[in-house]
Point group: C2
Chain length 442, copies 2
């Protein structure tokens, strides 16, 4: 692994330019260099393969952070998926006729989720969640939505913040609803994961007006006993559509939605990220009675008909199943979590570790957390790792990678522990402190 000399390089220079051309600099909050290491993060890649990434200066890193925001469960540039995509390109990615692979993909998703009967496809996660909510509203003739957690950028969701800062306790505090029509106020009602009392209060107030209950079946922690079951029963009783957002949780602990592990079936489930392994693809699957409502409304887009998406998804999902990729992801997560714990003990840091195994996360118990994590990221980058306080496991993460990674983590935890002890955290930073959430760029 090449070591980073601290030269900010071509990536930062290009990013400086990007900020004059692209509001926010990137297309995704979680890929803003400021979310990692302002003024030092390599920002752009020239090549990505397996678990390795090369920046614009040709420096090589091991990716031990959110790994393409969870989009590449099999690893970057997976050969089997790419081979299938090359076939799709050779035979033409678009035509006036339809791609037969979308029917095959619908069948495969339904085979993996026997409660579901039908599927519709899109290309992005935020987009497919908007389709799911549209279908639920069309099926019920109602507008209101009870929800828990983060579900993307679209109007239906950000409307939650129109009245109050309802999203404040959810994933990204302070998501601005600027530009979301005020007529959507009072359509969104939040409840916290595993807070069944709060859920009951939402139901008490809005009960029969709820079109949908939207949630991830699992967040940093799994469901408390009876939590998902009561929500399922309540949805059925109210005639509301239960939507599981599996955009992040899907294809982690099994091939398909994590809800299968909990034995509770939704009415609709949405997938994106992991299902395409880096090629844009998204799906909503559901029970026939609900899905048929898609026909009573208008949900249609030209680029949902191209061939690469379904072909990539078929190859990704089949490999995921055939190679038992989920088991690998779980093992990687467990090894990493145990390694973090050990490294913290050795260096005297106190960690809180959470997340399902393949989406592991740690929190250093200290003051000025953002500065401390920034120092950790800087120390890891110096050692040739793209790192942060989370690691999304990939099939490309091999034992040797994890050994190197955990060695560097121990060294970096040591840097952090000593800096905390000596009060030198800010002094050791060669650039500004990382951003922690939604923040306007000058």
């Amino acid at each position: 692994m090449s070591s980073n000399t601290g030269d900010t390089g071509r990536g930062q220079r290009l990013y400086k330019k990007a900020r004059t051309l692209i509001p926010g600099g990137t297309q995704l909050l979680s890929k803003r260099p400021e979310m990692f290491l302002p003024e030092q993060w390599p920002a752009y890649y020239s090549r990505a393969k397996g678990a390795e990434v090369w920046d614009l200066d040709g420096r090589r890193y091991l990716d031990t952070t959110h790994f393409g925001v969870g989009a590449c469960v099999l690893g970057f540039a997976d050969e089997d998926v790419d081979q299938a995509v090359l076939g799709a390109i050779q035979s033409g990615t678009m035509s006036t006729l339809n791609a037969p692979e979308e029917v095959e993909l619908a069948e495969l998703l339904i085979e993996l989720h026997p409660w579901a009967d039908m599927a519709r496809f899109a290309r992005c996660g935020g987009e497919v969640m908007a389709i799911a909510v549209r279908i639920a509203r069309a099926a019920t003739g109602r507008d209101k939505v009870a929800f828990c957690g983060y579900h993307g950028w679209q109007d239906w969701y950000l409307a939650a913040n129109l009245a109050t800062d309802a999203l404040g306790n959810h994933l990204l505090s302070g998501l601005e609803p600027a530009g979301v029509p005020r007529g959507l106020a009072n359509t969104m009602f939040p409840f916290m994961y595993n807070d069944i009392e709060q859920f009951r209060r939402v139901v008490e107030t809005h009960g029969k007006e709820l079109a949908a209950i939207v949630m991830e079946p699992c967040r940093a922690e799994g469901p408390a006993p009876g939590f998902l079951e009561e929500i399922r029963e309540t949805a059925s009783r109210l005639g509301a559509v239960l939507i599981f957002d599996e955009v992040t949780t899907g294809f982690r602990v099994l091939t398909g939605g994590i809800h299968r592990k909990f034995g509770v079936d939704p009415d609709l489930a949405a997938f994106a990220k992991g299902m395409g392994n880096g090629y844009p693809m998204a799906a909503v699957i559901g029970k026939r009675a609900v899905m048929e409502a898609a026909q009573s409304t208008f949900i249609s887009s030209t680029y949902w008909t191209e061939r690469v998406g379904p072909v990539a998804a078929l190859a990704t999902i089949r490999k995921h199943r055939d190679k038992n990729v989920a088991e690998h992801l779980i093992q990687v997560g467990r090894t990493v979590k145990a390694g973090w714990k050990r490294a913290a003990e050795q260096t005297g840091l106190t960690l809180h570790i959470d997340g399902i195994d393949p989406l592991a996360h740690f929190d250093i118990q200290c003051e000025h957390k953002a500065a401390v994590v920034t120092l950790f990221i800087q120390s890891m980058l110096d050692r040739g790792f793209l790192a942060s306080a989370q690691l999304y496991a990939s099939y490309a993460h091999q034992p040797a990678h994890l050994e190197q990674y955990l060695g560097a983590v121990t060294e970096s935890f040591d840097v952090v522990a000593r800096a905390l002890e000596e009060g030198t955290v800010e002094k050791l930073l060669r650039g500004p402190v990382k951003h922690s959430g939604f923040q306007r760029l000058a």
Copy 2:
């Protein structure tokens, strides 16, 4: 060209299955087999190359219809675009870092549209129009939108049909707003293209409450003298954002938005379809003061960060410019329009021909139009052509193709003319009459 024997084949059998697995059968209304030739249309493709398409039975057709709904201006599976995409695949389509090509693409789009300063990207046309409207609403702090024409499936647009059937006179009559929250009623105010009086009435009533004026700069006809200019002046006076939807009109008569031909600049312009030549890609470009409002709200999605989209767009746009593809498209359209006229005169049909040259359309002046067009499509399919009452020109359409096509058109117009004379239109159809717009599938 192989002739179609009338056997409905594998495509129709697969489509029958698709309808049990996918509500509506396809992901796009305009690709439903019922929109062309119910029970006979080949429905799916195995291969597409240049202007040719092969169905699941290996039958070859020349594509002389909407040509991938206008997504493939260069032709199917264009070698230069595909070569660039293969490079992107080899170097990895996704990473935790960003794809540098998106900065290059922002620069190129701004170079082509000197009034614009910044760009954001998405992957689908409906999606990018929702981003444009969000930015306009965020920039103005207002919710209402004056609009003309069709702009996709999302809530902000379908809201137009909540109160009345406002979309009735626009592109797709009867678009159902089922599932669109009622709180969005009275946000959308339609005006007809080139009806400046109607536009003035909308402005009189809603003037300073308008966040945006959304329209295609050109529809079947071009702008009447002063029409776009008055809209531009009014938008500036009201402080409303003028958004040109160039998803369909872009990259037809020049490299970039058709508005450049009319000398009227919007505040934002949106592109998709033609810019990716069959790979999902979409962009909104705009003036800095408006685009910066994207930073006051939350617009972010994982698959907007992959590499194939920008790489395909760069290759498509550069080839479009270098080869003067627009000139070719215009010539194809003119040849086709002249050929239609000649064929109609020879066979005694009366046609109304419209559309900009690269997006040519004809309307047979007769009763029972849907049945008559169905007979035309059937006759063309028998002769080895995917055809309808429109032809979207492609760089892959060569003079020899057009000669074959216009020969088949003359024969098929003759079939239609004789059937009209003899009252045998319905009798000659081997399947049901085509659908003409939004229609529920049983």
